[in-house]
Symmetry: C2
Subunit: 352 residues, 2 copies
């Protein structure tokens, strides 16, 4: 199928650009001896996860069990679920995964650890534990190396839990001193830190400068987005995912309305400021998507030399690609003007 | 199943509150002699659409063809697609719908009208046309009554298109004078306006005070949300939909992090201001959801007398319920502490 025959709005992924992004991040990890576990929350598509593994990733990272279930069903065998897993139903699902794949989870409290420990005893399965460390975001993670040490000691009381290392998200400059202190504190107690894993598509700016990092997690890098450009991670040419949209109305001489709104592009600004609008219009760089309703995007073309007519197509690089992808059931992989892949976004909406 | 056994995050709908909302809006329409066509974009669930029809609605409103296809497949027979339909693939899908249901679409330009007219000739099917009028939003709609008259004359050149009336979204105070002028201009040309349809859950504040309104469209009213309360349409007791979430981490003495983030609640503020946070925590009215990442919500409880522990459940009324519902594949209808319905959100993600 040629691109022109795709109905709009459609999410298209440039296969060459995506492959270049995959290879560049893998090359960075290889050069610095990092294990790479790409975070599949960005694409949620098993075939893309397999491309990342083929490029050299040692496994994948998921955020929710539901994502991991989809990826395990697609044959992926090394999965880190970077999340505190709580409650009997979720623990039972986790035990089923643990019997099929090499599984690790992140933990930051005794309550969560206890649930996991008792489940692995009961179900006789094995789970690796990363201690999630709060090195600045204050979202999850133990606050101090002492809390991490306490959790490691608790892990040792459960025969089927294995301490795999420390981890953090997102990796920041401040993460370095946190982990330095932690390494010292562990050493003082005669405890080993077998591994440090750090997450963020900004990893390549920092990770190799820090001591002790052995694993990297990154998600957005596979497609990048307007926010990635805004914070200096890449440029627009490396943005692999776009929304193809059609002008459906012309409310004034300078305004046009497209068939992509918040249910297509998402209202998520990512790292963009409000005033920058809801995405970057590739064909009209001076255009500003100033408002989204659910199925309409309102665009101001007053800064452009011409304004598209009703029926004309444009393409939009989203502010936050992870939020955008999660709205869609189908994504099209394209090379030049041809559709070469039609993907189910199989882990879309797996919030449990 | 009891509510306590539902995994989190889950969207729950209070069946009694929803039914009350459905009946109250229908009662308003009945009292004023308005046809009511609820907009299903809010719930996207066929069974709820049927409840709205059973209460007295004459048909439903959809935004995209994909939504209408789902609703037609569920047996619904009067559908207004409030959208400019463009392009051969979409027109072919529309023709298939037109042969099965009493179908109307909104139009605001000659280009769109021409596509519809030629398609109905070719496919020998019949479609009703509402002329979409821009009475203030500047998103879609003809700008002047003269443009509407021009389109009506063009409709008359296509034997299978039927002019059903004028319509607008959203209904505002200014809509009244727009339609008054339009009625005069049509009369002066010897043309009849058979019907005026107006959309918005705020309709009951205005519609009955305006001349000529015969049909009402509203979506959000079925569940309402925090934005509806903010703009004075209802109160919190009428908000029927909530997200049930679990505290998964306690980053500090006053902060807690839940397992619901932007992929569960959506980043859409609706009519809320940024500073108000990403939803209303029912059990902790003073709490503030100050940040969402994709699968985590960060909540500040410093204004509350206690802070929930890891494992405790809370429920959140979303800022914009339509955006939130569209993220979920399954929604649970509850009465008191029992789950009485498990619904597929069958028209979720139907952006085409």
């Amino acid at each position: 199928m040629v691109l022109d025959n795709l109905e709009t709005p459609s999410v298209i992924v440039d296969l060459d650009v995506m492959q270049r992004n995959i290879e560049a991040m893998q090359k960075y990890c290889d050069e610095h001896g990092f294990d790479f576990r790409p975070h599949i929350k960005t694409h949620k598509i098993p075939e893309i996860a397999h491309l990342q593994l083929q490029a050299g990733a040692v496994g994948i990272t998921c955020q929710k069990i539901g994502e991991a279930e989809v990826m395990a069903a697609a044959g992926i065998r090394d999965i880190l679920i970077y999340y505190n897993i709580i409650g009997p139903a979720k623990l039972e699902r986790l035990s089923r995964l643990a019997k099929r794949v090499h599984l690790s989870v992140a933990v930051d409290s005794s309550q969560v650890l206890q649930g996991l420990g008792e489940m692995t005893d009961r179900e006789n399965c094995r789970i690796g534990i990363f201690i999630d460390c709060d090195t600045g975001l204050h979202r999850t993670g133990v606050r101090t190396p002492q809390e991490a040490i306490q959790l490691v000691k608790e892990i040792q009381t459960y025969p089927n839990l294995e301490f795999r290392g420390l981890s953090t998200f997102p990796l920041k400059d401040a993460s370095g001193s946190w982990f330095e202190q932690a390494l010292g504190a562990f050493r003082a107690q005669g405890l080993e830190v077998p591994y440090i894993s750090a997450g963020s598509s900004a990893g390549p700016k920092i990770a190799h400068q820090l001591q002790g990092i052995r694993g990297l997690v990154a998600g957005t890098y596979v497609f990048y987005d307007r926010s990635s450009v805004e914070i200096g991670l890449t440029d627009l040419d490396h943005c692999a995912a776009r929304v193809l949209a059609t002008v459906v109305s012309r409310p004034s001489d300078t305004l046009a309305t497209i068939d992509a709104g918040s249910k297509t592009l998402s209202s998520d600004f990512g790292y963009m400021k409000d005033g920058n609008g809801y995405g970057y219009v590739v064909e009209y760089p001076e255009a500003r998507i100033f408002s989204l309703s659910e199925e309409h995007g309102q665009i101001d073309f007053s800064g452009c030399s011409r304004v598209p007519e009703v029926g004309e197509r444009i393409s939009v690089i989203p502010n936050h690609v992870c939020a955008m992808m999660n709205l869609h059931d189908t994504v099209y992989g394209v090379r030049r003007d041809r559709v070469e892949a039609v993907w189910d976004v199989a882990a879309r909406g797996k919030v449990k």
